[in-house]
């Protein structure tokens, strides 16, 4: 664990891997140290924001050093060799127009079940959120080439993953969902799309994601959901909060893909 300074109102705690970051976040979230105003998990780090009038870096450092090592504790990686990870779903600085893509859709893609999504997220031990997906994404064929799997195998492996929300970022309600099958891990697209529709289900590196609203995006689109993962009129607005177990289920007819 490395504790890095981050201005006068925060510390950035760096750990060895995603699991450790999730574990540290979970422990701090369950039992927040006094004076802490915000905890922001990410791929290798947890930001601890604090009220300088109520606590200080020295006290927080002592508290962090006093935490018992996580079960999966490992030697920290050397700082100059971080694993490439957690690419932003858009690729800043790479604003090449979206590559033309063949949309492979099955039927009208609609399923009555998709209109009745189930699952909610409570604050402490979040219940599993089920995401109904029409697996008809335009990047399935590209992914097949990159992974050596057939689109049907890609979908099968995605459905079987033990997914959970590791952290959020990029946009309100955008969750980096960990647990992707190792065989599906590919870097994000060379040419990000300038517009990805709301509800697009996508993968990149070790994550799945659901675009909460239309935005630029560089992840590989594998499907589409009607589930609103972020809705300001709902309380809580974000369905996918860190720690939430996620189950993807296939809906609609998608047998056309790569057949």
């Amino acid at each position: 664990m490395r504790i890095l300074p981050c201005g006068d109102e925060a510390l950035l705690v760096e750990v060895a891997n995603l699991r450790e970051a999730e574990d540290l976040y979970g422990r701090l979230r369950r039992d927040p140290p006094p004076g802490v105003t915000d905890l922001v998990p990410a791929a290798r780090t947890v930001l601890i924001a604090f009220d300088p009038a109520a606590t200080g870096p020295a006290r927080l450092r002592a508290l962090l050093h006093g935490l018992s090592p996580a079960p999966a504790d490992r030697e920290p990686q050397p700082v100059d060799a971080p694993a490439p990870d957690a690419p932003a779903p858009d690729a800043p600085g790479r604003d090449t127009p979206a590559a033309s893509c063949a949309v492979v859709a099955g039927g009208d893609g609609r399923d009555p079940a998709a209109a009745n999504p189930i699952g909610t997220a409570a604050a402490d031990s979040p219940a599993t959120v089920t995401i109904p997906v029409r697996y008809d994404g335009p990047d399935l064929d590209d992914l097949a080439r990159l992974t050596g799997l057939t689109p049907a195998q890609i979908i099968g492996r995605h459905l079987q993953g033990q997914h959970r929300v590791a952290f959020c970022g990029f946009a309100p309600g955008f969750a980096y969902i960990a647990g992707l099958d190792p065989g599906l891990r590919v870097p994000r697209r060379d040419s990000p799309r300038t517009r990805v529709p709301a509800g697009a289900v996508a993968i990149a590196d070790e994550f799945s994601g659901v675009y909460p609203r239309a935005s630029p995006g560089g992840w590989h689109l594998i499907g589409q959901t009607d589930l609103a993962v972020f809705d300001l009129t709902r309380d809580p607005p974000a369905l996918l909060v860190p720690g939430t177990p996620v189950r993807f289920v296939a809906v609609g007819v998608a047998q056309a893909v790569g057949a």
Partner: protein, 301 residues
């Protein structure tokens, strides 16, 4: 309607200027959902405007970008204008900044263009009472959360919640220097940069570019080169963070910064100096220097 029975009224926007948004202290504590704090980019100016009109600290005001607001008040009230100094006219009569001013029903306020600085705050007794979104009336321009930017024809209801009658009648003007020097606390990723890059930051001047906004102050100057060129896994960033993208040109994050970033943050501008950065205009130059305090937040001496 509740409260004292005193009419609160509305403010009718006749012209908004280049960008006018409703801002309060933002929505802290939601970053783990991908929601940034937002709020006034020059918080001391917002707080001062509220204090001058006797509002609670959380009241919402109007943040103007390069002035230009014209607005009519439907009811008698009280205003105070802080931040970047603009010529002000209330129903044809010149009024001053940094002081509470009584407003008659039907009065028309005209805010000119600031000679210095970027953001001016119009505090109104009772506060702007548009519906709060996730606990705040701030417009997050990056995420598109909160009340829409003001447009001509918009009508903003004013609230009834006030604290005590204002007790301050004139506040000192904010300093606007031509070439501000911002104190920076090194880290979290200073070790990703070559030593020369860090000394460049302390010794060179940087110019504010025209693509600066509420997300960040974008700078042009000597490029800062990285020692570690690997991809940085996305990590949380904070307001004041100086992020160095591959171009080597720094960006100082302001209130609407993204929750996470994929480029290393070399240092963080201390909270008290962030308003100086937020008030820098394109073409203006600024400098950085190490904060006069230890990295652990304690005084250095």
């Amino acid at each position: 309607m509740t409260g004292s029975g005193e009419p609160s009224g509305e403010i009718a926007i006749v012209a908004s200027g280049p960008l006018a948004t409703v801002q309060d202290l933002g929505r802290p504590g939601l970053a783990h959902l991908g929601i940034t704090r937002s709020g006034a980019v020059d918080r001391p100016s917002l707080l001062l405007a509220n204090r001058l009109v006797g509002n609670l600290t959380g009241a919402a005001a109007i943040e103007l970008t390069y002035g230009g607001l014209i607005a009519r008040f439907t009811h008698p009230g009280m205003i105070a204008v802080t931040g970047a100094p603009c010529p002000l006219e209330l129903s044809g009569r010149e009024i001053g900044m940094y002081a509470p001013v009584d407003v008659q029903a039907g009065a028309l306020l005209r805010v000119g263009t600031p000679a210095r600085g970027v953001r001016t705050y119009l505090g109104i007794r009772g506060g702007v009472d548009v519906p709060a979104v996730l606990g705040s009336r701030s417009r997050d321009t990056l995420a598109g959360i909160g009340p829409e930017p003001l447009v001509a024809g918009a009508r903003l209801p004013l609230g009834r919640e006030k604290s005590d009658p204002p007790t301050v009648d004139l506040a000192p003007h904010a300093r606007y220097v031509d070439e501000p020097e911002l104190q920076v606390l090194s880290g979290p990723r200073a070790d990703w940069f070559a030593t020369e890059a860090v000394s460049t930051l302390w010794t060179k001047t940087y110019e504010v570019t025209t693509d600066s906004d509420r997300v960040g102050v974008r700078l042009r100057g000597p490029a800062m080169h990285r020692r570690i060129t690997a991809e940085l896994p996305s990590e949380a960033v904070v307001a004041g963070g100086i992020q160095i993208p591959p171009s080597g040109q720094p960006v100082i994050f302001l209130a609407d910064h993204p929750v996470t970033g994929g480029y290393p943050v070399l240092g963080v501008v201390v909270a008290e100096d962030l308003p100086l950065a937020a008030q820098c205009r394109p073409g203006q130059r600024l400098r950085f220097r190490p904060a006069r305090r230890a990295v652990n937040g304690l005084p250095a001496h």
